[in-house]
């Protein structure tokens, strides 16, 4: 049988795991796909190869997929996200000196306490004329939105006292060590690289800010998806099988060794193993801490593209770019996430399929059963740290309720 080639762009991060595992463990081949991972070193290049047809799909920051569809900073191109590659998996790492001030105890900090202390430092630093500067991986990233959401709720709006700058993940630890930034919010293995070098201490993981925050997605040009729906259904099945493998007991060592290869992440298998087993070393020399919700690749239908998650990202884009809310733009943003394609691809299989396309985000305080059209689906707590809930049907009132 001849295989259909599908090129998938990615950045060397642990949450690029599913397309890589789909190739290496034969899940893609089982679906008749020759999955060719295409490695790049900037999101700009991952995006450009996707937009100019040099890749068929890409591992992409969820907010960047939405910004591309909305034409932020460049002409709009319709983008479809039929599959989520993971939830959370990022952390906030501060320089050891700053961490000691805002999060003095051992272990992870408490978001309110750390945020409030950081806000006080930010005010003092602003008065001294050297504003606090935090590095995020991209303007259109969940890192940026979660960091700002958290700081704003703690009284430190990032446009009043805290500067956020873009740092490229491979240089984040170096920027922290050199004092170019006071802290970083990045994915793994880059926090761990900073910790192991003694350049920083992890004070929070982003899962503490939003327990089930959407992170990387599989993005494609809508035109490409529409031209080859059946091919994308097979790709989604392969990725879903890879996700099941990823969380299966006994696979972690193998996955870490694969991801560490020079043609994939080109990094330390030990650091990668820690991240994908939800074990993170917070400070140099300490034993790793087990935080079970650190990153989410499969359980609770984590791969399902909830339109309400896209809507939340749109609300933050509007909030932080100072844009007026537009019902049309909100519709475009929500329409990027394609639960219809996800369901069509996985119908008849073992995957639980939610009945709804949207949900109230942040409304579940404990594990709750939700309506499904296939399989049984339980969702765990998806709380925001400040207890707010987000109703995708009422974005303007949500925005009004936030400190604008």
């Amino acid at each position: 049988m001849s295989l259909d080639r599908v090129r998938v762009g990615f950045l060397p991060l642990v949450d690029a795991a599913l397309p890589i595992v789909a190739r290496e463990q034969g899940f893609a081949e089982a679906e008749g796909i020759d999955l060719v991972p295409v490695r790049d070193l900037s999101w700009a290049t991952v995006r450009d190869r996707l937009l100019y047809g040099r890749t068929d799909a890409a591992h992409l920051l969820a907010p960047l997929a939405i910004a591309t569809a909305l034409g932020r900073g460049r002409p709009a191109v319709p983008i479809a996200v039929p599959f989520v590659l993971g939830l959370n998996g990022n952390a906030i790492t501060l320089s050891p000196a700053l961490a000691d001030v805002v999060s003095p105890g051992a272990g992870l900090g408490e978001p309110h306490a750390v945020g409030t202390a950081l806000a006080a430092v930010a005010r003092a630093r602003l008065a001294e004329g050297r504003p606090l500067r935090l590095g995020v991986v991209h303007r259109y990233s969940s890192h940026n939105y979660m960091l700002r959401y958290w700081l704003a709720a703690c009284g430190a709006r990032s446009d009043a006292g805290v500067e956020t700058v873009t740092v490229s993940p491979p240089f984040a630890a170096e920027a922290l060590a050199a004092g170019e930034v006071d802290g970083i919010c990045v994915g793994e293995p880059w926090n761990s690289v900073a910790v192991d070098r003694g350049a920083g201490r992890i004070v929070l993981v982003t899962a503490q800010i939003w327990r089930r925050g959407v992170e990387k997605v599989l993005a494609a040009r809508t035109e490409r998806l529409t031209d080859a729906p059946e091919l994308f259904h097979r790709l989604i099945r392969a990725l879903h099988a890879a996700a099941a493998h990823f969380v299966r007991a006994g696979t972690i060592e193998g996955t870490a060794a694969t991801l560490a290869r020079p043609d994939y992440l080109d990094g330390s298998a030990e650091l990668i193993r820690r991240a994908i087993s939800d074990r993170i070393r917070l400070a140099q020399g300490e034993p790793p801490l087990h935080f079970p919700d650190f990153m989410f690749q499969y359980r609770e239908a984590a791969n399902f593209p909830w339109r309400s998650q896209a809507a939340w990202l749109y609300s933050q884009l509007v909030r932080w770019e100072g844009l007026p809310y537009s019902a049309d733009a909100a519709r475009v943003a929500e329409g990027v996430f394609r639960p219809d394609v996800y369901r069509a691809a996985l119908a008849g299989g073992p995957a639980p399929l939610p009945g709804a396309n949207s949900k109230m985000e942040g409304a579940l305080a404990r594990e709750t059963g939700v309506g499904s059209i296939q399989g049984r689906l339980m969702l765990g707590s998806d709380r925001f740290f400040d207890g707010r809930t987000f109703d995708p049907d009422h974005i303007p009132s949500y925005l009004a309720s936030l400190d604008r």
Binding site: D40, L41, A44, R54, G73, R139, E163, T164, V165, S168
Partner: protein, 222 residues
């Protein structure tokens, strides 16, 4: 988002605007920054631009301090290789910097998708200040694309030449081992190598590598 580096002085802004006005009229006045971690490739592009009269070019190879340098240089055109990890940092800077007198955006000529696709294939992207006409940008981009392609070809040829040299050295070493251990002359050693390669459906150099490796590991055994 914040920015790195201090604000551009009013004088520098005025100077830049004057130069931009001049750039609308003559090619020579257009300042082009080439950002590339490969100094060799950057030199090839710079040379090409120079040949067509674009002499106001600057090459930046170190990612450290790149934003401050760009701010001081205030180029009208920025060429950067697609593999450069600093692209996200630069795009962010172009999008939000209040220090730049005029916004810089990526060159996306939708009327000529082929040109942009060619640029992506060649591995280069271009950022242009607002207001610079497309007619004047196109030749710069075309030239960059051709030079990037030429550089890739050169590298491929160099790689091929190096591989051929290395292959030959390996084959020679394997022949010498066979001559010594089996008492063959050179044509005999080569014929043995070739016969074995054909029989095992491998390349001669692969068989030669196996012999050299075996000799290195077990050559001292009787």
């Amino acid at each position: 988002m914040g920015r790195i580096g201090g604000p551009l002085s009013a004088l520098a802004q005025t100077k830049w605007q004057l130069r931009l006005a001049a750039a609308q009229h003559s090619m020579e006045a257009m300042r082009i920054a080439i950002i590339d971690e490969s100094a060799g490739r950057a030199a090839i592009i710079q040379e090409g631009l120079h040949d067509v009269g674009l002499t106001d070019t600057v090459v930046l190879t170190d990612r450290r301090g790149i934003l401050a340098q760009l701010e001081a240089l205030a180029p009208e055109v920025v060429l950067i290789d697609l593999e450069n990890p600093s692209r996200d940092v630069l795009e962010e800077y172009f999008a939000v910097s209040r220090a730049l007198a005029r916004p810089i955006a990526m060159f996306v000529d939708q009327s000529d998708e082929e040109a942009t696709t060619a640029a992506v294939d060649a591995g280069v992207s271009a950022y242009i200040v607002a207001g610079l006409s497309r007619n004047r940008i196109k030749p710069v981009l075309d030239l960059a694309v051709r030079r990037f392609q030429a550089f890739s070809r050169l590298q491929a040829e160099l790689h091929e030449a190096r591989t051929a040299l290395a292959d030959r050295a390996t084959t020679d070493r394997a022949k010498a081992i066979l001559m010594r251990r089996r008492g063959l002359d050179e044509p005999g050693a080569y014929a043995l190598l070739r016969r074995h390669a054909m029989a095992s459906n491998r390349r001669i150099v692969e068989v030669a590598e196996a012999i050299v490796t075996a000799e290195a590991l077990m050559g001292d055994l009787p």
